[in-house]
Point group: C2
Chain length 486, copies 2
Amino acid sequence: MQNSSRLITILRICSFLVLLYSLSMPLPVFVGLLFGEHHLHGFLITFAFAFIAGLLGWQLTGRDEMNLKTRDGFLVAVLFWVIFSAISTMPLYLDSRLGLSLTDAIFEGVSGITTTGASVLDDIDHLPKSILFYRAQLNFLGGLGIIVLAIAVMPFLDIGGAKLYQSEMPGPMKEEKFTPRLTDTARDLWMIYAGLAACGMVAYRLAGMNWFDAVCHSLSTVSLGGFSTHADSLGYYQNPAIELVGGTYSILAALNFSLYFLALHRRSLRPIFHNSEARFFMLIISLVITLVCLELARTQTFALPQAFVHGFFQTASIMTDNGLGAAHYPDWPAHIVILLLGASFFGGCVGSTAGGIKAMRFLLLYRLSSQEIKQLIHPDAVFRTKVGRHSVSDRVIRSVWALFFLYIFFSCAFVWGLMIIGHDFATAFGTVAACINNMGVGYGDTAAGFGPLKEPGKWLMCVAMIFGRLEIFPILIVFSRTFWRF
Amino acid sequence: MQNSSRLITILRICSFLVLLYSLSMPLPVFVGLLFGEHHLHGFLITFAFAFIAGLLGWQLTGRDEMNLKTRDGFLVAVLFWVIFSAISTMPLYLDSRLGLSLTDAIFEGVSGITTTGASVLDDIDHLPKSILFYRAQLNFLGGLGIIVLAIAVMPFLDIGGAKLYQSEMPGPMKEEKFTPRLTDTARDLWMIYAGLAACGMVAYRLAGMNWFDAVCHSLSTVSLGGFSTHADSLGYYQNPAIELVGGTYSILAALNFSLYFLALHRRSLRPIFHNSEARFFMLIISLVITLVCLELARTQTFALPQAFVHGFFQTASIMTDNGLGAAHYPDWPAHIVILLLGASFFGGCVGSTAGGIKAMRFLLLYRLSSQEIKQLIHPDAVFRTKVGRHSVSDRVIRSVWALFFLYIFFSCAFVWGLMIIGHDFATAFGTVAACINNMGVGYGDTAAGFGPLKEPGKWLMCVAMIFGRLEIFPILIVFSRTFWRF
Ligand SMILES: [K+]
Ligand SMILES: [K+]
């Protein structure tokens, strides 16, 4: 009965999460009421459904046993994103004003909760405020899911939270000593996340947005989700200050949140500026920004000051996988766009809401490759791989390599999948970069939005978004035979 | 004086190789005379120049000291390909009938000797026979260079041949016990290479080619070079038998040549069919062939029997990085072409003339990735990575991962380089796949030949071809600071 009791416990956790998530549904209703809307039943139905389903599940599963194994965390992680995606879809599908097909509603829901920010909606400027706010909230809660839920909720349910946290964010996270009591950490990270969102909101407001837009864009930037309240995204404002805020804010949101925690704790910026991953991330993003700005100027796409503003904002937005846009960037020279799409595979730091393969892993791959060159020159020397002051174990190295390989492999497979459906190569590459990296801006057919994506392509990209968000392994694990050999 | 004496020894080796190479120049002259040509001075000048330069270098460097270090092999390997490329260029540049610019002549020369087989020449059908034969000979000698020179010439010069052999073909080559006396092995491999070429020649002749074409195509197929005597490549013949021979022959040439050696030695096919890499290669190429044939039939590009013939031949030719073409394959549905171009990164087996990352490495990456999934499920278990009956050392694993990462990284960099020069994304991807994998058939602007490539693009692709042929590391090593810290 061990195994069925484990399944029941997993069900119990999911029920609890659903219950918790249902409580977010009234928020867009309040926003809608504030703006005098009347068609808010979609949110209310979803609220009622999720609340009752969660409560029932929670009650029926009892609470006597909590004997999960570490690996059950993978199943919880996968179920978490799948169930939350399904619930997120409901208000969008139920709102007749949007006129979304089930496929489109699911795509938009998955895109929101995975903080991808790819949208199938057109005429975004004229959507009801409740829907606009709800989309931003999806991004925000999805980001929260990535950073906090795994460490805040899981320990409360008495699971090996630290372990699950590692599975959610595999990679060398332990550079700085950082294991105080988990609930405290979770609360602090939550505060940082919310604080960063509040700062961003004020900054956007000061730069020229109205309050509603500032709130929505702030929620979607801190989570690097990238849903906007305008079809032209930040390009709508034609305002360099807003782009500078958006770019800076994207970069800040792409740093490891535990660095802010340490910085606050020690009242010093040293933890941020002395962190190898953060430094590497800053170095690479500066290089790409410089390259993009120079190329924008060289190709005379923009005059110099604009080239700098647009180049800085768009690179920061795409490379961190935020995905806000401006200045009609898909019309820029193709080599710049492809460079940006390629850079989206880099992403941000581990422990942020950024997508992609992430800076820490590239830093490690770079170190290992240079080490290999030295090793071939000095075949008998013994090298140790270090990141920061700590040497990296073979275990972590193997894990990072394998992720890199699988990431490339599945990206190629998804590109090919979109091509077999009938999209051209550039569209397929851009769309897969947008989805697997949870970046959200496409190219070619999907440059102006993901509506033109063919129906099976939308389903495939839902899979890609969840693959990317979970960093591939949890899904392969849940579908492996070894996993079910309890 | 240690170091300067090492440099002198390296110079001596290179001189010897140049001397040896010069002896191949009279061959196309004979072919030209046979077909009544008169403009053969290009070959004769090259012969005289290379012979004298080689002899002088050989004489002037003396022979007292031979104290090379293992790592000098990298420099020899790089110099070998660069010097041979330069010499190969001469007859093409000197022949006024071709009217090639220096850039074009260099591209054609590098392409030939690296067994890439990408051509800037148009109107290939009407080229002088001496030139057509010379191009096939370039492929053949380039292939010989890859397989044999490193083990046949180096021991004669008293260098650590085995070590260099490893550097030329990094990767787990030691699955089967295979270290008899090197000169014997080299001679045997040479016999196998020549024997395979002879069989291929007869097969092509029987399938319907004339003797001249059969000789040229045989030389360029056994080396997986892919230069043809016709602009339409094998498509010229409109003959299924020739395509079936070409496909089968490509696959046979992409197997590890030491397996043939073992098979001959033991008078049994077991070494081939029991070799893990060969089995994996057969499995993957069968899968891709099936996929391509099915897609050709589904998209009604061809009726069933033609779909099979063309699908089999073109997949075998591109995936093994041979690069002979037929049936106007660049006009096939884009997703099939992109699949083939992607498959060219797979290549053939280690120890063949195939390009790409090679089957053994993908087998290892696949094993390591599945192992990682099991490891995450059972965090405390200890897994050993096995290929065949032998477990693979961490050293080899690190080396393979690093090559994979660098291969992807430089492929992306080359694609971006071609785009900045002004080529579109599909052309850039196809051209880089053609060059870095030494495959030789492009896409988009380069589908019909590499003439339309812009001048800096041609230079960049020369670099890509040499990068691919040397499997990246030797070049990075020679340009690293560590290497020159003698
Ligand atoms: K995003
Ligand atoms: K080739």
